[in-house]
Amino acid sequence: MTAAAPDPKMNMGQPVPRYDAVVKVTGRATYASDMPLSDPAYAFLVTSAIAKGRIDSLDLDEARRVRGVIDIVTHENAPRLKDSKLFSNGGYAGTTIQPLKSADIAHDGQIIAVVVAETYESARDAANRVKVSYTATTPSATFDSPGTTIAAAKGQNAQFKEDPKVGDFAKAFDEAEVKLTASYETPTQHHNPMELFSTSCAWMGDELVIYEPSQFVHGLKHGVAEQLGIDADKVRVVNPYVGGGFGSRGSMTPRTAIIAAIAKRLNRPVKLVPTRDQGFTITTHRAETRHEIKLGARPDGKLVALRHEGAEVSSRPDAYCVGGTKTTTRLYACPNVDSLVSIVRADRNTPGFMRSPPEVPYLFALESAMDELAVKLNLDPVELRRINDTTNEPIGGKPYTSRSLMACFDEAAKAFGWAQRSPQPKSMSDGDWLIGYGCAATCYPTQMGPAAARVRLQRDGRTRVEIAGHEIGTGAYTVIAQTAAERLGVPLEKVAVFIGDSDLPPAPVAGGSNSTASTCSVVTMVCDQIRQRLFKAVMPGQSLTDKAKATVGIGQTPATQAAKGDRPLDLEKAFDALGVGVVEEYGEWKPEGAPLDSFRAMHSGQVRLVGGDQMKDQIAYAFGAEFVEVRVNRFTHEIRCPRLVGAFAAGRIMNPRTARSQLMGGLIWGMSSALLEATEIDERNARYVNDNLADYLVPVNADVANVEVILLSEQDDRINPVGVKGVGELANVGTNAAICNAIYHATGQRIRKLPVRLENIEV
């Protein structure tokens, strides 16, 4: 076994290799822009060079003269599309800014024309020859820019229902013996998944096929149908493999319906592969945020008052916000809590989900402040967390379904060697390098959504699972195959999984770390329907009690605890008794507490995730603890991060191999969020400056040394049938704070604004 495949502990599945491993290492995995098209025309986007104003005129003469140009679509001749509402307001879109509708420009890099040509080269050439005259007005770029507006999130964002508060914060803070007030800032970030934001559209009569990397094929299908004004059953979105998502492909962008409409007009498949820099403005991003934290504590470390005020930047028309106070106000025991989230409107494209949307910026603030408080109290920061650990969240008093936060701290601290830390800042060094140790808590809400699946079992054990889940690198194929194999007792290699196609039964958006919980829950349920049919056929006299349902095994089910000790069911005998060659079942599953309209919503591409802090009598989160070592060169101020150690508890781990990889990637994302990533904004022009992969810094191999992931055993039967909490977004939370805490320990300098670069070090 390699380090990549850790031995399973209690309540973990087998670390089998990825279902999609061979196709991915041989180049046979077909991503959206790899899909064969019959005689496609190539589209190239022209995007706005100003952030605010209007187009006065377009001179297309030179562009039209480029050989091979078929059509140039602008606001003057674009197909008319219906508006789509924001996903959070019952629509499908990630932005309500609809390009090519009028001459108005709402943000830099907005699509203003689409050139279609016989070849990619001609389309690009002609796009570069489109001449645009603008009337520009001064845009408002970000925080502090003249012309921005600010207002409370509550009341303008349908999904931000309340600012959590409890007790009397003002009085408690006023009377607190130890107080801390500190402000923090996080930057704009872009997901930059490796696969570009391509879209290919092909019509067969009145039926449309869309090849596009999507984290929500059913949402995209319904959204595009709505914009085109056609029946959703005529639209099919296909993407068996997605080259990374990180939230960027969760909601519909305007490009898809535009390309679909152009393909219809030309009666020819159209393929769009936007450039990397266009991806910065035609999709979404993580907005920049500001925070003020106030903590009041007793000298023994017990929190008595906590206030978290956050502000986030959004676009003019859309009140997007992540509102991470829902998590930061509930993480620690504290009787007096107050919070406020505000939205600042600027002339920017609408932001959206990016891996752990609320927790990355908001826990940076809280977990930095906790470290600052530990310093004030002269307490070990791990002990400060222990003193304020809780089994019930403080706002509503609801119990956590399970909470292994301190177990994670203890395991990670041990593996890291935290005990060797000398607490004084600047007290550890190695030659020219100042050494700092830092830690932080991480958590992420457990979420699930309604899902449907179809499973077919053949007499010879071959199994086919169909569900419109998404393989964005998480291991979706693998854990779905493992679930079916285990539940039906068939060998893993006999299971075929079909996902990433909106013609399959709907699954939720691959976001909010819900996919494994949702898809494996419904696949388990449908496999059980098959077991019941076979069971009834073989033992017609027996009643289908719950016990029988759970214990009748078919074939070998070594990993199913319930099946152990029961004699295996003879598959061939069962099929003979049924008199069929194939058993197929379809089923729909919804989590406890799901709204009444869940299934209807599911079939119209709407997301109804439940869980986290939104449950009725309980609250469900996954937890972890992260420890980092940083080294700061005392002369050059270069910052390195040679060690990242994280321990995580997230309910059942379906596959320790894929889980470890995701958490490892998350830790590196967290490091990157602290030290590398920021989209720089030209405040005069409200424009992203470093819109490419050389200037927008993401980690490369040389930035990463030792990363250790510790998976803790945790069993939680109160969340969903498979007991899964999800790990996709757990590890990149808190890391940014852990690194700043370590930089403080190394240098004595507290840095409250991300990212930290060598020019920010003053020692």
């Binding site: 380090a3 991915k24 290492v25 180049g27 603008y134 393989e471 490892m664 990363v707």
Partner: protein, 204 residues
């Protein structure tokens, strides 16, 4: 820019992707719609297809393509070898890495015309008779990918990294594999995979 509206003329979109091949030397060309008007000589119109023969994975492939076509687009759009991926088209990410005469090259910055007469090896050319190349197997064993989009480029780069003699230590592997971005950040697993496959590849 002032607060009052101002007019601004932009000849090119600021994000223009300047094509090196022939862009600035162009004289006006008639549109396809006005096809019968006099055309400039073929040599001056990059959009007029040219004949190119590429040797890919041991086989000669004859193409009739736009002179500005890159090796990457030739492979993907014209030869249906879509294993090599487009992640930036600027040589910044490494997803398009192929071997040309055994050297690792970013195929997005290499014109197809310039690769004539050279041996191009892509991810599709590694496995033989359903037997995976040792580097492919090592990537599976060490879970050296998640979404898989950068993987073909990583594997091509990893093979060259070993053959260049840059796989002697983990630090070396990290350094010499840093031209290939993996946004899922499978880096430690990629290092482990290169380490595993290196001895077998060096044996030949």
């Amino acid at each position: 820019m002032s607060d009052t509206p101002s007019s601004r003329q932009s000849a090119f979109d600021r994000r223009a992707f300047m094509v090196g091949a022939a862009g600035s030397a162009l004289v006006p060309i008639t549109a396809r719609a006005a096809a019968e008007e006099a055309r400039v000589p073929a040599a001056q119109d990059p959009a007029l297809p040219v004949d190119v023969t590429l040797r890919v994975n041991g086989k000669d492939k004859r193409l009739h393509i736009d002179a500005r076509t890159t090796v990457l687009d030739a492979l993907r759009d014209h030869l249906k070898l879509t294993g090599s991926k487009k992640g930036c088209d600027h040589g910044q990410c490494g997803a398009c890495t192929v071997l040309i005469d055994d050297r690792r090259v970013v195929s997005c910055l290499t014109l197809a015309l310039a690769a004539e007469g050279q041996e191009i090896t892509t991810i599709e050319g590694l496995a033989t008779d359903d037997r995976l190349h040792p580097m492919q197997q090592a990537f599976i064993d060490n879970d050296a990918f998640q979404c898989g989009y950068c993987t073909p480029g990583q594997i091509m780069s990893a093979i060259a990294c070993v053959k260049e003699g840059h796989a002697g230590s983990e630090a070396d592997i990290r350094e010499y594999m840093s031209g290939n971005i993996c946004r899922c950040a499978a880096y430690p697993n990629i290092v482990a995979a290169v380490k595993q496959a290196a001895p077998e590849i060096m044996k030949g």
